[in-house]
């Protein structure tokens, strides 16, 4: 299955690698990339404002509440960053295989396995000192996620099983794995429900500031910078984009397309697993049913709004985190229901797609005009 979601920004990126274009041209192409975003976001907000008004609430108050909640105080900011960390990782887990034209819908399952792996280590080896235990927890969580996505990658490569299908099915399997671990193996009898025992003290990510922000956020920042740089500047990143743009041509030019696709899936699983480990070590100190929240869906929406650009992912993820954290406050302040936010996110994506069509038509019209002018010019010269 091929896709052209990544086409628009990538086309300029390829020349980027070959030879950096002059600064003015770069700035212009950046502006052209930004306009559709601005229009799409604006249009989505306008439609939602109409919707809120129809429902009998005040759109200005609603938007003020949803947009300022993260910035009003430290608590809001920390909440937003704690949401941002898993969202960024899950969005990367979707966007990286997307670069190779593969759809990873299994971020949820990979993350859950990450939480299970992290919790398993954190519970069984809880006596170890922090310098050993914490890295171990993060690494095992990451590996568990990678193994989970490797199953899908293997089925995709060896048996040509659609990766959407296998990742979705493995999500369902992961729910059962989590339920088994949390309600049978390491169940916390006092908690009531599918919740595991707490992990050892040495497995908890240290916090900074007040209220404390877990240091997993910094780790995610580092990971997203590395991912963005790798995508733009490394051979692996180039091959990934080449496979996504034209798999057949890449194969003809000696890129091992199967291996690239498999690697992208495994890396994605590792990132989702890391997200799970960070949720365990940073936020919950255990794993529990429902720990995956709606990060998968939001991760997909972020990856798609970022159009598969790994550089854009952290920024889009921040915007979505702000909306998600602000949703509750919006309902309290203005009475507009939280579901509005989901509709807003869906509309941003839909309008962004529509703006692609508009830009494309506009560019074609301009080209046609230019070539018409040129042909008239040559006609005049002949006469």
């Amino acid at each position: 299955m091929s896709t052209d979601v990544t086409q628009a920004p990538e086309a300029t990126d390829v020349t980027d690698v070959a030879a950096a274009p002059p600064l003015a041209q770069r700035a212009r192409s950046l502006a052209f990339a930004a306009i559709p975003y601005a229009v799409a976001v604006l249009a989505a907000f306008v439609v939602v404002a109409v919707l809120i008004t129809v429902l009998g609430h005040d759109p200005v108050a609603a938007f003020r509440a949803v947009l300022t909640n993260s910035f009003r105080n430290q608590t809001g900011m920390v909440q937003t960053l704690h949401k941002w960390a898993p969202l960024t990782l899950l969005a990367l887990a979707f966007a990286i295989p997307l670069g190779a034209g593969r759809f990873n819908i299994g971020g949820e399952g990979q993350m859950i396995l990450g939480t299970v792996g992290a919790a398993a280590v954190g519970i069984t080896m809880s006596d170890l000192p922090m310098v050993i235990l914490l890295p171990l927890v993060l690494v095992v969580g990451t590996l568990a996620g990678a193994v989970w996505s490797a199953i899908s990658a293997w089925l995709m490569e060896s048996f040509k099983i659609n990766e959407i299908l296998s990742t979705v099915l493995l999500n369902f399997v992961s729910f059962e794995v989590l339920d088994y671990v949390a309600s049978v193996v390491w169940s916390d009898p006092g908690a009531g429900g599918a919740v595991t025992l707490p992990i050892g003290e040495g497995a908890v990510l240290p916090g900074i500031g007040r209220p404390p922000m877990h240091t997993g956020v910094l780790l995610v920042l580092l990971v997203s910078v590395v991912a963005a740089v790798m995508a733009k500047r490394s051979v692996a990143g180039f091959e990934l984009r080449a496979v996504g743009l034209n798999e057949r041509a890449s194969k003809l030019h000696g890129i091992r397309t199967g291996r690239v696709a498999v690697t992208s899936m495994i890396v994605a699983g590792a990132l989702a697993g890391l997200a799970g480990a960070i949720e365990v070590a940073g936020v919950h100190q255990r794993t529990l049913e429902g720990i995956q929240s709606n990060f998968l869906l939001l991760g997909i929406i972020i990856g798609l709004i970022a159009r598969g650009s790994l550089t854009a992912v952290p920024f889009v993820a921040f915007g979505i985190a702000v909306l998600e954290v602000g949703a509750g406050s919006m309902q309290r302040v203005s009475g507009a229901p939280v579901e509005i936010v989901l509709i807003l996110e869906g509309l941003i994506l839909l309008f962004l797609l529509m703006s692609d069509v508009a830009t494309e038509r506009w560019r074609r019209a301009r080209q046609a005009r230019a070539s018409r002018a040129k042909s008239q010019l040559t006609k005049g010269a002949v006469a």
Partner: protein, 292 residues
């Protein structure tokens, strides 16, 4: 045993509607991935309209119409605008799901929701929708494999260029297949509150929409195998519930895992049999010079 059979048949119906809808769209080349959202929308609309209009039939029709609107947007955006099917499908999934929760919140609010009347029993302890679902599967098989129109629809999903050259209107075929398919998915969703819970809840679909995609692949995009697959999935769902309540010797989580692992196993072994429409998920551009 007969109770098990009854429960299985009831659990099979939503799978059947949604998977056949997926199959119908897919056979024309439209890969709908908004099932989960469409089912939620169907459940919300079906519940609300049934409650307000006081009849399940009206509710089901309203749900089908709501689904058709979403399906039409999907088909239009992917045929006329040629946007990526998967991306538009996901965007509509979010929108449909959000609209469903919003509708419910606006109409019902946070009060204790009133229950709607369950579907009345027709014969053999089954409601009418069971027979509609079974008849639909039979009809789709007959229509796709025994009529000219059905063959034309399949040809659009297999090779739209060839179909186009023979005068088949590719865009129109895809439009209506995508629209009708989505309407069926919403009907599958509307069935849930009418049979299981009596009320709508945001978690009512519980992944059945994604499973329906798996079912379409599992059944090789053929109505008769999808019927068999739906029965298998439904039986497993009932079995897992039973294992959770009474216990069957092994932890119920492993019973619940079975259908998913079995699906993957079947896919591995039925490599050649599980045919996928050639142009599934790919848009057709008449002016394109690239073949395939």
């Amino acid at each position: 045993m007969s109770e098990f059979l009854t429960l299985t048949i009831t659990a099979m119906v939503p799978f059947l509607f949604v998977a056949q809808g997926t199959m119908l769209s897919g056979r024309a080349g439209i890969f709908n991935v908004a099932q989960e959202g469409l089912m939620l929308l169907g459940a919300a609309v079906g519940y609300i309209i049934s409650l307000k209009a006081g009849g399940n039939v009206v509710g089901i029709i309203a749900a089908a119409l709501a689904g058709a609107v979403v399906g039409f947007i999907l088909s239009w955006a992917t045929t006329s605008l040629r946007l990526d099917q998967f991306v538009v499908g996901l965007a509509l999934f979010f929108l449909a799901g959000g609209t469903a929760s919003l509708l419910y919140r606006v109409v019902i609010g946070n009060d204790e929701p009133p229950r709607i009347a369950p579907l009345p029993e027709l014969i053999l302890g089954q409601d009418a929708m069971v027979f509609v679902a079974l008849a639909l599967s039979g009809f789709l098989w007959w229509w796709l494999y025994r009529t000219d129109a059905g063959m034309r629809l399949r040809s659009v999903g297999e090779n739209p260029k060839a179909a186009d050259s023979l005068g088949i209107n590719v865009a129109r075929t895809r439009m209506w297949a995508g629209t009708v398919g989505a309407a069926l998915m919403a009907v599958g969703g509307a069935y849930l509150p009418m049979v299981f819970s009596g009320v709508y809840a945001d978690g009512i679909v519980a992944g059945r929409g994604w499973l329906a995609i798996a079912l379409a692949f599992f059944g090789g995009w053929r109505p008769q195998y999808i019927l068999a697959g739906s029965a298998f999935f439904a039986a497993m769902e009932v079995l897992a519930q039973r294992a959770q309540v009474s216990g069957v010797g092994i932890p119920h989580q492993f019973v619940s895992m079975l259908p998913y692992i079995a699906t993957l196993a079947v896919m591995v072994f039925a490599l050649r049999w599980a045919l996928v429409p050639q142009f599934l998920g790919k848009n057709y551009d008449r002016e394109s010079r690239i073949v395939g």
